[in-house]
Amino acid sequence: MSKDGLTGSEIVLRALVDQGVDTIFGYPGGAVLPIYDALFQQNSIKHVLVRQEGGAVHAAEGYARSTGKVGVVLVTSGPGATNAVTGLTDALMDSVPVVCLTGQVPTHLIGNDAFQEADTTGITRPCTKHNYLVKKMEDLPGVMHEAFHVARSGRPGPVVVDLPKDILQGIGAYQGPEKFSQTKYQPQIKGDLSQIEKAVDAIAKAKRPIFYCGGGVVNAGPRASQLLTEFVRLTGYPCTLTLMGLGAYPASDRQFLGMLGMHGTYEANLAMYNCDVMINIGARFDDRVTGKLDEFSPNSTKIHVDIDPSSINKNVSVDIPIIGDAGHVLEDMIKIWKARQCRPDKDALKDWWSTIEDWRGKNCLAYEPGAKVIKPQQALERLGAAIKGREDVFITTEVGQHQMWAAQFLPFDKPNHWMTSGGLGTMGYGLPAAMGVQVAHPDALVIDVAGEASILMNIQEMSTLAQYRLPVKVFILNNEYMGMVRQWQELLHGGRYSESYMESLPDFVKLAESFHAVGLRATKPDELDDVIGEMLEVDRPVIADIMVDKAENCFPMIPSGAAHNEMLLGPDDQVEKPISEEGMVLV
């Protein structure tokens, strides 16, 4: 510390500490060397050295989603910043609070195509909630505090702070967060009471109601999930969750219908189609959920609670919009429900549940367990059985069929224990995210359910696991295919498997060993339990290579452009109508 103040780097670190940061994920380079120097001389902040900047952002996402805190990333200018772009976009799509500090060339060189210069604020403008380029020393403390405020307030998201090297090396004065408490960014938290009353009215009068809830409930903190559970039980109504919402309502509960949407359950999707009142809390009517918009839940009164006004009436027009935080609104809903002594319509509800039970009776997730070949579903069911009853299990995934099967077959009873890339669908998310989770919860069991294609996208982070002794378990459902791509090609492109097979795969057992981890393999169903047992037993990083049926498809499936009541339940259920041209252009 110099006599006249602090260096920019010291100010950055002071601000991090004052914002409650104890861990950052990063990778050094010329432009951020001053920060690394300051890091070297302190003990309050732990730095986790990743192996690629993309990994740092996903790790911060895993850290953030599993703790509710802001995840922090530190990368250098130019390639460091551009490598972070995928992770930032991922965090934006899934509303994850992340602050990413990027180095920048000194202010007087900006615009000169200096070495490792990139227009970081320009590149990241559309993939961040907000970003800053600090050009004046005196702005630094304020920008740092505001960045955290913006990242975590309202609808959370990623924020970039671009830090020119001369600012990091300059001398300035630090100011604490209390100086900046009155920032201009103040999203609405409390919902409008008259709207909430209207909603409760509609909820009480419903004959075929459904709660459709999502990631917003998880974003609102664990108490919002408790309130949701309380309200759903109070009403006795069915509840379905999006991929991002899993855990916001206990999966083991009878009132839970499973996930909805493209690969959701028959009962959840038909209940959505046939309901008369839909109570959407913190879900954004994503196209993976709604299917064909014109035929989405055609006869229901729709209530939508969301903290972001731009999520409301974006894809689906709703009847009762409520802008506010899921937790606060649920609290008010419960209060009003109790004060008015609302009672659900018992007879109607009984009929509704009996219809739903018929749908449930279809047992849409059923599959034929293999005798010789492991079915991916079977592998996950065995894994689910092995971790049953454990409180401290966190699951992350990569992207593809395995991700959908994990969502369908693993039970999530608590929020913040399930991290997956939903909105962007980023292959390579799961391993670094698991790493971030494990850093935040050193004693927990953290499993990345992976595909053999996805895992190769950020496999370098195995080295980070070894360095920090993070005993993450990578559970690969190895079908030697980009299974999800192969499935679409089978169903929509006449079985022409263009470039979707995985050839020349590494030997994952040896790969694990070369990364100082334990490698295991199961090729037959009767080896599954032993491999899973050993994986959970060892206190080291593990790659378990589970060789599964290569041809298995993920069902149920609503083909793109189809409606909720046009679901395919299994391989025998052929696409009835040919997929429309409109459907074919959809992703």
Binding site: R125, P126, H130, L133, V150, K184, D294, S310, K314
Partner: protein, 171 residues
């Protein structure tokens, strides 16, 4: 099939913090999400003040217009968004254009006559040309330009629309 919903034209006034990148944010929002921009103007509201006003004229279905306003409001440096078309249907909207016309003889006389009708001012004259300054609604400016084009070679510079609500209420 449901009938296609008609597009509407809206003038939206956006008060923003005067900070670097704010215009890029607004423009990027429109291009990134595929919204239309018919015209966009921006300037500080007064010298030394920390606010600028961006006036955007856009078209879209009612649902898209609502989205545009919600998306604009979501930007951190945006302080206030006013849909003048909706909130203040008789708001004042004006545009300024500098219109250069190269013409001679009878065309030249006619150009002056029309300029007079439109209250356009002559900002520059040579023996071959005029530069007119015309102000009014976009339709007025359009009509003036069309008439000038019929009389000779033209060069046009337009400001785009600026707008403000009528009455004592401040936005």
């Amino acid at each position: 099939m449901t009938a296609p919903v008609a597009e509407e034209r809206h003038t939206i006034s956006v008060l923003v913090d005067n900070e670097p990148g704010v215009l890029a944010r607004v423009i990027g929002l429109f291009s990134g999400r595929g919204y239309n921009i018919e015209s966009l103007t921006v300037a500080e509201v007064d010298r030394g003040s920390s606010l600028s006003r961006i006036t955007v004229v856009t078209t879209g279905t009612p649902m898209v217009i609502v989205q545009i306003k919600a998306q604009l409001s979501r930007l951190v440096p945006v302080r206030q968004v006013n849909d003048l078309t909706e909130e203040n249907p008789h708001h004042i909207e004006t545009e300024l254009a500098l219109v250069k016309i190269v013409a001679s003889g009878e065309q030249r006389v006619e150009a002056l006559r029309i300029a007079d009708i439109f209250n356009a001012r002559v900002d520059d004259t040579t023996l071959q040309s005029f530069v007119f300054r015309v102000a009014g609604t976009s339709e007025t400016v359009d009509r003036f330009i069309d008439l000038m084009r019929a009389l000779g070679e033209t060069d046009i510079a337009r400001t785009g629309v600026v707008a403000i609500a009528r009455g004592a209420d401040r936005t």
